[in-house]
Symmetry: C2
Subunit: 251 residues, 2 copies
DNA sequence: ACAAAAGTGTTGCGCTTACACCCATGC
DNA sequence: GCATGGGTGTAAGCGCAACACTTTTGT
């Protein structure tokens, strides 16, 4: 049996690494908002991050990729390990096993588990949120409309966002979050959503253009009810170079 | 039984988290060089990073602190989790169990293990390197005189150094690596050792002083065979503030 | 006296920030 | 035509990097 699924199942066979789980914070960008993909446990109203176990034969990165592909349908996504959560009281076994009794038999829970946290940046429009056999929905939620999360997943989410904010200061971000063609205001709103603050549009444009990671197309976006903004697209080669070099890139 | 010790013992009881280990990259600074604490396995000539298992009742941070205190005699050290290594082929069970057959019975090895990496910054002069029951020595080694290491420990060490170099750009470092009183050239050589490049002494001094984390004492260091440098000491309060705020601090 | 390391200031450039008006579009 | 958002340039100040000579000390 292979359990593709979630948190903390006390599977005592040798197929998976015991007491180890992996949780994914999947970020998307839509309607000017940073969103996170959450799952709701079958027959309950309890939400958590999508997660899973690690098979004996796969690496942590492979496990994270597998989980992401299952939930989003995407391959080749930007994925990064950011922290491993190992407090001995990350969750209360009694309380959790009670809440999820209809999904997971109580005796299957470990007393404690360690969870490796990954975050992913994905293109919202290309994602097909897919619940699995333990969840009956899988949905995007804005950062300001988050439900309470099971386990320590609220903390994991918050930590992921902290890491993302740090990384964005050194590396270009966007190739993974934005569609193929996008406007400068869209890109700027993405940065604003991640950083949680306003950015000056003139300075933003100057900096992005100077870095060389985007190219201005001659095409404009029509039907925006106001002046038509230009489309831009990423220069993948240059983007990769800047990503490699980490040649910083504050906004 | 509690095994305080190292990598990858297939202890099948419930005292420790199975298939999970924790490895520490302990950095010290001495004689102008960045050094790392290594252990040599008993009766062999094989070296590795000091590591250990995680007890069921302790958090990852607690486990790392325990291991560090055992090896160095220090309490209250600067310790940071940086990455979790989870490739399924991090080590070759056959080859490792062969090499360490005199220390660990072959059947005790897991097929694979996940290792959480921590690095620590410690004051070289205060450390008493202490081998444990599995190692017959525990020694400092300079970064350019490293032996080959077991498992994937060379990669872990390299990764730790990468993380340290990134962190040093945002946070003050030194309170943990330098003695209570130190000279500006000593501090500068520490930065040079970590960053692996030369620094301009005038610009360095300006930047450090401006940050306010050190205070110049009126005392000079005597007997240096040349002009006597001033002693400095850390302003712990200010240091803590800068550390918190992450108010960056490039060198 | 000599060799070696420590101490110290200035300048120019580039980067960052602050700031406001005109333009295009849909309604 | 009006409201809304998009597009764009300049100026000032700050931070960073480059750079060399004098001082002190032990031998």
């Amino acid at each position: 049996m292979i359990v593709s699924n979630p948190e903390l199942l006390a599977i005592q066979n040798s197929e998976v690494v015991p007491q180890l789980t992996l949780d994914c914070v999947i970020f998307g960008f839509h309607a000017g908002q940073l969103k996170v993909l959450l799952v709701k446990w079958k027959g309950t109203s309890f939400w958590s991050l999508p997660g899973g176990v690690v098979r004996q034969s796969e690496s942590l990165n492979d496990a994270a990729t597998r989980i992401l592909t299952q939930r989003t349908g995407l391959v080749d996504i930007f994925l990064r390990q950011f922290y491993t959560f190992g407090d001995s009281n990350r969750y209360d076994k009694e309380s959790v096993s009670e809440k999820l009794a209809s999904v997971v038999p109580k005796h299957m829970w470990y007393d404690r588990a360690i969870s490796v946290g990954y975050y992913a940046l994905v293109n919202y429009a290309q994602v097909f949120p897919t619940p699995d056999e333990m969840s009956d929905s899988c949905e995007w939620r804005g950062l300001d409309e988050l439900p309470e999360l099971l386990f320590d997943h609220s903390e994991i989410l918050k930590t992921a966002l902290d890491y993302l904010r740090k990384e964005i200061a050194h590396q270009p971000v966007g190739l993974n979050l934005l569609p193929l063609k996008f406007t400068m205001p869209e890109m700027m709103r993405m940065y604003e959503a991640i950083l949680g603050r306003k950015i000056d549009p003139r300075n933003f444009q100057k900096k992005i253009l100077k870095s060389g990671i985007v190219i201005k197309s001659k095409e404009v976006k029509k039907g925006t009810a106001h002046r038509s903004p230009f489309f831009y697209y990423f220069d993948n080669k240059k983007y990769g170079e800047v990503l490699q070099s980490g040649s910083l890139f504050f906004i």
